[in-house]
């Protein structure tokens, strides 16, 4: 187990280094920000000063060494547009995105796993039907529309929750549900098919042949095996949620990272883009690492066959 973990952590660090390098290369290839920012001023001196401030007057390899050195110290640089550090922007915006992602995935899991399991057990029954409709709607409704409709119903007409902005726990309900429903669709379907596979297996028949009550057969023998693929899928979705959603954040005026990312790409604010992408990458890698560890806990076959 320790060897497996060490190997995984090493791979994670390698992946992170690769992402940092790729981000560096791509942001340099995207064009000269100094030229863009100073285009209207038309003074070559101003352009020169800008380059100097951003360190773009240095040769590329020097830039890379400085960049990596700063990165190792946790310094993600300063925005090219304002004088705010990238770290500060992330500190301000990430908690909102993180807490929304968490509530969305929690809502998705709470509804979709029981629904998927029950629709597999009671195939072709009303509950299976409900699960199909939930999944179908989740996949076909665009989230901006669903978000607006939910606001209309629950905030405007019923007045139960505030229409937008981040406040108390109740402010998470609408954006969390909007984001979560789309994820629910996939999880319900995957959970159902995975459960059906497992229910067909010999070890489930054997568990019944031992005389175990049906609830034990399902909760112990079937569910644990059926969850394995679902865990991967759900955590990948969680990773995607962590990167923020421009649409949801716009509809609900949510102070998350998604809009920052979009604006800094449009404004060629490359220190911010770099910082955001690296942090996104880091999240994905950490989530994958956690999934790998979870796997080893759930499925004993993994520990030994690395």
């Amino acid at each position: 187990m320790a060897g497996y973990l060490a190997g995984r952590v090493f791979q994670a660090i390698l992946a992170l280094w690769f992402i940092a390098t790729l981000v560096f290369a791509l942001s340099r290839a995207a064009g000269d920000p100094a030229e863009l920012f100073t285009a209207n001023l038309a003074a070559p001196e101003a352009e020169e000063m800008m380059r100097e401030r951003l360190g773009l007057d240095q040769p590329l390899y020097r830039q890379y060494v400085i960049y990596m050195g700063q990165l190792l110290q946790g310094d993600l640089g300063t925005s090219a547009r304002s004088n705010v550090t990238v770290a500060q922007i992330l500190r301000e915006r990430m908690p909102a995105t993180f807490s929304l992602a968490l509530s969305a995935i929690a809502i998705a899991i709470i509804f979709s796993i029981p629904l998927g399991v029950l629709s597999a057990i009671y195939r072709d029954s009303p509950i299976d039907w409900i699960a199909k409709v939930v999944a179908f709607l989740g996949q076909s409704m665009p989230s901006f529309w669903l978000g607006l409709m939910l606001i209309l119903l629950f905030a405007v007409i019923l007045g139960w929750v505030s229409p937008a902005g981040k406040g108390g726990i109740s402010s998470y309900l609408l954006p969390g549900f909007t984001l979560g429903w789309a994820a629910m669709a996939g999880i319900v379907r995957l959970m159902r098919s995975s459960m059906l596979d497992v229910l067909d297996s010999d070890y489930v028949t054997m568990a019944r042949a031992k005389g175990l009550p049906e609830i034990m057969v399902m909760s112990k023998h079937a569910l644990r095996n059926a969850l394995i693929p679902v865990i991967t899928y759900a955590s990948l979705i969680f990773g995607a949620f962590m990167n923020g959603s421009v649409v949801i954040e716009s509809v609900f005026a949510w102070p998350g990272i998604g809009r920052v990312a979009l604006n800094s790409v449009l404004g060629r604010d490359f220190p911010v883009v770099q910082g955001v992408v690296i942090v996104f990458g880091a999240f994905f890698i950490i989530i994958n690492l956690i999934v790998d560890i979870l796997y080893a806990v759930i499925d004993p076959r993994i520990k030994y066959s690395r």
Partner: protein
């Protein structure tokens, strides 16, 4: 019968007119179509036939574990001791499963749950039915693993199925069934996926344990060699019915049904230099449209006109033996 004691003659299981059908869009598939047989205490009864003749579905029907909702037991009686299992409610039925009757399935690779330690899996019926807990349950599991000759059971207890070889896994499955000393063991082709030497070891192990505990066994196989080694009595199945039932010693000498004869002819014999192994012509019938009369007639070398019209009645052929064939009727 080899068994001498008086109790050997008491009937443990009596199956009467069992019918299990699959209800599909394309029609009704009669997997088990009126099967009747008995198993005496301490007796090993073979169930022989080609793939798709209804052997496995008969076994699952006895445990009431046919795949639902696709299949359903539509008719029949399964008397275990003095109770008709088909009339019990689910919770009463669970008292039989794993306690009085156990099952071994064909493929040891898939019949153990990959995510639980084998000690845990073998202990389940012990905890459930014998109400043993903690150290007592572990002792029972160790005893059973020892009985099926799993080396160093103390360490093996904490291992997972993927750490066992095929033969060892099948022993674990057997241990799982035998841990509660059931009266009936249903073995559904348990050696088919094992290689020949492992198969021989497993067969003699089960035979030995069976003799020791006087367990009744239903042994499903398509291998008449295994029948000779394992069984006291053999029931030959064709298209969901038992076409011949006979004491084992007799069936090799004097098969009554042309299908049994054909099965025997297709067993390779050492020293017998035939140019080519005998092969039964044609295919087993589609169970969705079984031919009228005797289902074997299209493949039968001695088919008569009446065979095509009417299913042959049961003809006693001495002792408990019987056959369903118009040839025997005449």
């Amino acid at each position: 019968m080899d068994r001498a004691s008086g109790k050997a003659d008491s009937t443990l299981l009596r199956v009467e007119g069992l019918k299990t059908y699959f209800f599909q869009r394309s029609g009704v598939l009669k997997a088990v179509d009126g099967v009747s047989f008995t198993v005496k205490a301490g007796e090993v009864v073979g169930l022989v036939g080609e793939s798709g003749s209804g052997k496995s579905m008969t076994c699952l029907s006895l445990m009431r574990l046919v795949p639902r909702p696709a299949a359903r037991i539509v008719e029949g009686e399964v008397w275990f001791d003095d109770r008709n299992l088909l009339e019990l409610d689910e919770s009463e039925m669970r008292e039989y499963r794993g306690r009085r009757m156990a099952m071994i399935m064909q493929d040891p690779q898939t019949s153990l749950n990959p995510v639980f330690m084998i000690g845990d899996q073998v202990a389940e019926p012990v905890k459930l039915h014998l109400k043993e807990r903690g150290r007592q349950a572990i002792e029972r599991v160790l005893e059973t693993l020892y009985a099926v000759r799993i080396p160093s059971p103390e360490t093996r207890l904490k291992q997972y199925p993927h750490q066992f070889s095929g033969g060892m896994r099948q022993r674990v499955v057997a241990a799982m069934g035998l841990s509660t000393s059931p009266e009936l063991l249903i073995a559904d082709e348990p050696t088919t996926s094992l290689d020949v030497t492992i198969q021989a070891q497993f067969l003699s192990l089960i035979r030995e344990l069976q003799r020791e505990h006087r367990t009744s066994v239903i042994w499903v196989t398509h291998d008449l060699g295994i029948v000779a080694q394992m069984c006291d009595r053999v029931n030959v199945m064709y298209a969901g019915r038992i076409v011949e039932s006979s004491a084992v010693r007799r069936i090799y000498k004097d098969p009554q049904h042309p299908y049994t004869q054909a099965l025997l002819d297709s067993v390779p014999v050492i020293g017998n230099r035939r140019p080519r192994l005998y092969q039964i012509d044609g295919q087993p019938p589609d169970l969705r449209s079984i031919p009228s009369g005797c289902p074997f007639w299209p493949r039968c070398p001695s088919a008569m006109d009446i065979c095509k019209e009417q299913y042959p009645p049961q003809t006693a052929t001495g002792g408990d033996d019987f056959v369903h064939c118009w040839l025997a009727e005449q």
